[in-house]
Amino acid sequence: MTWIRRRFRPEQIRELSLLLLILAAVLFFGSQIDNYYSARTFNRISTSVAILVVVAVGQTLVVLTRNIDLSVGSIVGFTAYFVGAILAQHNGMAPWAAVLLAIGMGMVMGVVNGLIIAYGRVPAIITTLGTLAIYRTILVDLSNAQTIITASLPQWVLELPRTNLFSLAGLDLRLMVGLALLVVLVFQLVLSYLPFGRLLYAIGSNPEAAQFAGLPVRRTVFLAYVLCGALAGLAGFMFLARFGNITVVAGQGMELQVVAAVVVGGVNIFGGSGSMLGALLGTVLIATLEQSLLRWAQISEFWRDAILGLLILLAIATDAVILERLRAIWARTGIRVAEE
């Protein structure tokens, strides 16, 4: 056991506690729901995680720097809608061009956020509360109340959510899930090994100190928002492919879902600590709870949200208690306790 303590900090194995929580949830629902342990359940949960986790990765980048992006839901809706509208007009557009267009669209909105926050020095929550409303307003005003419909989209978009990377005994790994996992992996590597990753942590832990140390605070925060926007744009494209019918309310309220996933995933809302793996696990935990509650026949439609709220609180509290315990064990054995 000592080697574990020597090699890891408590924050690093907090992901383990999330994993335990997910396991507990799965075991519990498995005892309640018929046929729960099936490839089908895995497919459902994994596909519902895919879109959310891409946005959560972007949100994590921003939250690590002690900021927040509440406009992601509007960015997802905006890109889903307009990429859909453009694809409906130009059915022959190449797939890579459509994806790039979505990422680019999201990026532009991220640039606006980033400029105002990093260079205009407007607090993140004020800026993104504002752009949450502004992006949605532009969407509604330009849409003329038309809905993007599946029939108008090119065939490859419609087939995308059905495409499997591989399939094992009914256990599908959908292309979109694979893509999402790739995004998580890439950004986890960025956080762990690139200077940019370390900058995010440094700035989030103490913005003033980072500034005095001469770190490029503004550029880094700006870049975090650009990436967050780009990822939300990518998620917008996935949203379009998955749901096909896009109305002007697409993605509304997603910002709260994503913040919940990130917070449950152990990313400190005051910046400086957290990981992409945590964000992924947080998203998985919330999606597991949501999707399982939907399928729990004993639970009436009207009880679902109350239970979901309680379970989320329980998850956050349990996680905090476990982390506290771990810290205590580390402290007792005399190994340096990592400061936040």
Partner: protein, 369 residues
Amino acid sequence: MNRLWKVLSLLLIAVFLLTACAAPAPPAAAPAEEAAPAAEEAAPAASEGAMEEGVDMVLLPKFLGILVFDQAHQGAQEAHEEIGNPGKLEFLGPTPENSVQGQIEIVTTAATQGMDAIMISNNAGDQIVPAAKAAKEAGMTVVTWDSPIPSAEGEDFFVAQVDFDETGKVMADMALDILGEDGGKLAILSASPDAANQNAWNAAFQDVLANDPKYANLELVDLVYGNDQSEDSYNQALALVDKYPDLELIMAPTTVGIAAAAKAMQDEGLCDKVKVSGLGLPAEMVSYTLNGCAPEFALWSFKDLGYLTYYVTYLLATGQIEAKEGQTFEAGRMGSYTIEKDPTRDSGLRVLMGPFTVYTAENVEEAAK
């Protein structure tokens, strides 16, 4: 420092003035809002009333950005131009997330502005009653369409797209048609638990399933809500299929829900097992009807609904008809209607438009154009 502040304040104020002045009309407003008074002669009914200043009217949808409400707006515009009302027709709506408060605010403001009539597709249930009553006290004509005020307090009458009890029967007939004589299990995917018209339809559907022996083999197993959001409805549809492995039909009396459910069944390759039906827009449903995911669904014309609503509201506001049982009137191209007691509510009057059009592979392509 101080001077800069002043300059800045002035700048900001200028921005506000610009935003306030530059956009006095909502973007969706009619290009031909001010029909020339000369057109009045062409109007069949308006000639007798002394309506030189015209009747200012507000068309209030549940919220902005939904196609069917824009279609209703087109219908209202058509009637507006046909009658040649020199007054204004404003299409004002709240945002989706602020629908209830926004509707109440718009009704209250319309009364303050001295508008003459308001046509409400009510999304606030009875919560709109105080505002609607106040508007009536201020002399406005208050008509509901698409979704009524459940208690009927504060409205003159309701322009019903179809008979709410008949909706239940139409849904049951479609279910029977799809599932056949030996029946099967089905579930309802509704909009939100607070949508009054949805609740009325679901109740009528449940009622007819329970009481009419014709539908004895149709077993309703669940009622879930997708909140008129594509993503929620999609997830709910998949959850239904998992929860009830032998489910054969999802009935979604909402245009957003039915399209999302059909897409979900198609994506999961379940269309052979689980069919989708309900109320949908032909343009949105055509591909699913042709490939068999949603072989049959129904709807009425929202354009006609907007037209009829405008017409009858205008007649009432100009005193050409009264809001009383038995009153008959001519509504332009749509012909003759009668105001009657609303049998689907405890009190209140209605004008019944109807009928349903049931869409199948035969007629859906034509309607989708």
